[in-house]
Subunit: 519 residues, 2 copies
Amino acid sequence: MQRALSVTRAENFPEWYQAVVRDADMAETSAVRGCMVIKPWGYGVWELMQGDLDRRIKATGHDNCYFPLFIPLSFIAKEAGHVEGFAKEMAVVTHHRLKNIDGKLQPDPEAELEEPLIVRPTSETIIGDAFSRWIRSYRDLPLLVNQWANVVRWEMRTRLFLRTTEFLWQEGHTAHADQAGAMEETLKMLEVYRTFSETILAMPVVAGEKPENERFPGAVNTFSIEAMMQDGKALQAGTSHYLGTGFAHAQNIRFQTDQGDWAFCHTTSWGVSTRLIGGVIMTHGDDDGLRLPPAIAPRQIVIVPMLRDKPEDAEVLAYAQAIAAELNELVALKQPVRAFVDTKPLKSAEKRWNWVRKGAPVIVEIGPRDAAGGQVTYMRRDQLRDGDKVSMQNAGRDAFIAGAPALLAAIQQSLFDEAKARLDANIVDGVTDFAGVESYFGAASADDDAAGEAFKGWLRVSWSKPTGAALDAVVERLKALKLTIRNAPVDQSKAAGSLASCLFTGEPSVETILIARSY
Amino acid sequence: MQRALSVTRAENFPEWYQAVVRDADMAETSAVRGCMVIKPWGYGVWELMQGDLDRRIKATGHDNCYFPLFIPLSFIAKEAGHVEGFAKEMAVVTHHRLKNIDGKLQPDPEAELEEPLIVRPTSETIIGDAFSRWIRSYRDLPLLVNQWANVVRWEMRTRLFLRTTEFLWQEGHTAHADQAGAMEETLKMLEVYRTFSETILAMPVVAGEKPENERFPGAVNTFSIEAMMQDGKALQAGTSHYLGTGFAHAQNIRFQTDQGDWAFCHTTSWGVSTRLIGGVIMTHGDDDGLRLPPAIAPRQIVIVPMLRDKPEDAEVLAYAQAIAAELNELVALKQPVRAFVDTKPLKSAEKRWNWVRKGAPVIVEIGPRDAAGGQVTYMRRDQLRDGDKVSMQNAGRDAFIAGAPALLAAIQQSLFDEAKARLDANIVDGVTDFAGVESYFGAASADDDAAGEAFKGWLRVSWSKPTGAALDAVVERLKALKLTIRNAPVDQSKAAGSLASCLFTGEPSVETILIARSY
């Protein structure tokens, strides 16, 4: 069967991912190591994600601010765990001027900074500095801010959207009077991420707490949402951290209580990034390219007029444009419908397949017969094939327009349902000893990007939540199989009955955790 | 008379500006030299500016993209004029890791970059690199992209919003088949900026071409919009550049023409930044603080319920909230109305003055008597005072709500009219020799931030448009008076009759230009 991509998921999942990103014209590598160029279709998806999530962040009482790109080295050094976690991957600014020396442009030695500046890998420290000025009294709490920004983490091995040296994200930062308030915020934003991911990205996730070894540097508790990609691997799609009073102590974020004494704030931070776009691709893409949930498709209904340099072209084009205009007056998924007529000077078959690869949810083809007969011929990108054949559908013009909002909503739902069924079917219970883990996952391939690796889901197992050296031992055993603990789901009701004893230590278990290979 | 600020415009304009920024809670300096923290009220204004301008940029056919923050040093070096213009103010990344050496965290000498990276001061070179890959044929032209981003120019002397080391902006970058197409684009976007500035910011501007010495480094022509601040100084509020084929040559941006041969593209770039916020403050602020045009006011109608810890508080609050809810269902200036009830635990007089200083367009005070009588008491921020007294107005509840969209539109218009009258009244014609320039402006103060400097407007004079050394001589003579040529207005019809001979050279004039002190 002819597919729109040169490689299938089954043949080589990592290569398939790259092919989708390239053929859907989402992004490309740049001349700067590890940094990507996000192209219009990819950036359009990000803008729609941003728009929706921004509304949710504001609806929960947060204000957007903007803080400096640069962080003084001394700030980073203040929180010991934090610097430990980030020092190895920081872009460091040391000079503020270039000079032509011996015919070669280079950093001017006379313009060396007294204190190097770090390009923010995250902004706890620079925002904490502002918080220490802004917060005086319990009346100033909670302080709830968010920032949309670019951040830089020097990565040795990069992959478009999934792991890049520079990426775009939002980072929420809040300060509270006590632990209860801060923890409520941490879990509230985790839930905002879960809802956003499932509703808007049609990407089902499991929300839960990360084990101690996977915490954000400096955090007391780290929570995540984890999504299952089509190769079975987990993608950490968002995190929410309760930071305790560590950052507050490091930066003197204090307030006067209603009793008149002084106390340190409890702070939180939480973020999602352009990595989500990679998650959407690996959740919904198929062997013909990307499939975009309508809520984040920059163009939801693309109309390809079949023009043949003949007199009837004008009628076909006018018919197509009238349909698009009517569609754009409608509302679907709470937003104005985004319909578009593709008038590029290309063959219509080529245009059709471009939009298939880009993942436009509905692709309409209009020929002279459609225009004359008041008909519409279209394909649903989520149900592109009937066996090997492309599945075309017909409708009367007015019925198609009237039904478009419901059609888009149905596609959004069907993409979610498909992904949810895969997630649910591939979380495996019942493994109670390490041998079972080994036999489920088999030997780890030496190559992360190995072609045709068999699909493996996630194991849900019971454990005693060891800490310190005991946890390190568990992590090492899993690492040998290229496995990690993803999280301990917030919803523990799925554990089905009483917990088995700990799969690692044999001690009584306290919760279930998810074990998986991951990105 | 008691004013809401501690300093008036007449007493000390620069200090007044700082007081408005601080007391309106717009932004503050950060621990990083020259970088600002944009606070919620300031960032909210920026978001509204962004939202509107983004629609205009998209409506003119541009797609948003995102390009790397870092630019390889070799890219910057390619265009000679460009590097000359920017080399002295660049943040240079030289290392990608920190290391603890002798107990001190510092750049790891083993992690020095082979080639230093520049934090983008502007993105012509990195975007040009992408264009050289994306453009193959005349069919790919015009290529029209825009980017919203942060940029860094190492400034020695900074002022919040007006000149900061890091700032936020949009930068459009386009490529065209010929000069005519590129010049049409350059002027189209200049006009977009003019319309945006006048319609949304209520800030009248003069659009025109910059003289040769003020061109963007590497540009063939630079156009600007110039706004008059309340101290008479000009603020360059946006620029649009025709770059010729210089950047295309430097980066090999070529296309195959419909004849089959190869040609270099003509490129443009254009941008506006958070500097516009400074322009809005200095255009509309008064001695009581900021006055925001409703189109960019994060909260347009602020309702302050006068609560007194008494039983009738509940009724007052419910009344206020019902009014806000009804207002928020309405549309004004093509956007949903943004009404807000301020329930902070502060005295209502304190809240009123906070909103006066922040420049909320309409401030409503609701007391028990208003609630009981179905009345509304409000003040228009643009007409706050009647003589020394605060001017309060009354209306029936329903009439106030029904009239709110028209009220907001009227405030938007009145702020524009006021600024336009000031601009028109202070562009002075009729000066035909340099002595006239000297006598109009008087001696220049040694201190840029001198208190109580007399208001001086702009001179509109004729000139012969000298170039090279002759222009340098003109620039030097003006510089001695702290004057600059702002631009040669696109609209030359205001020149009123035939041109006088050149004020500088005595030669026949070819156009009129504006001369002013400036930011």
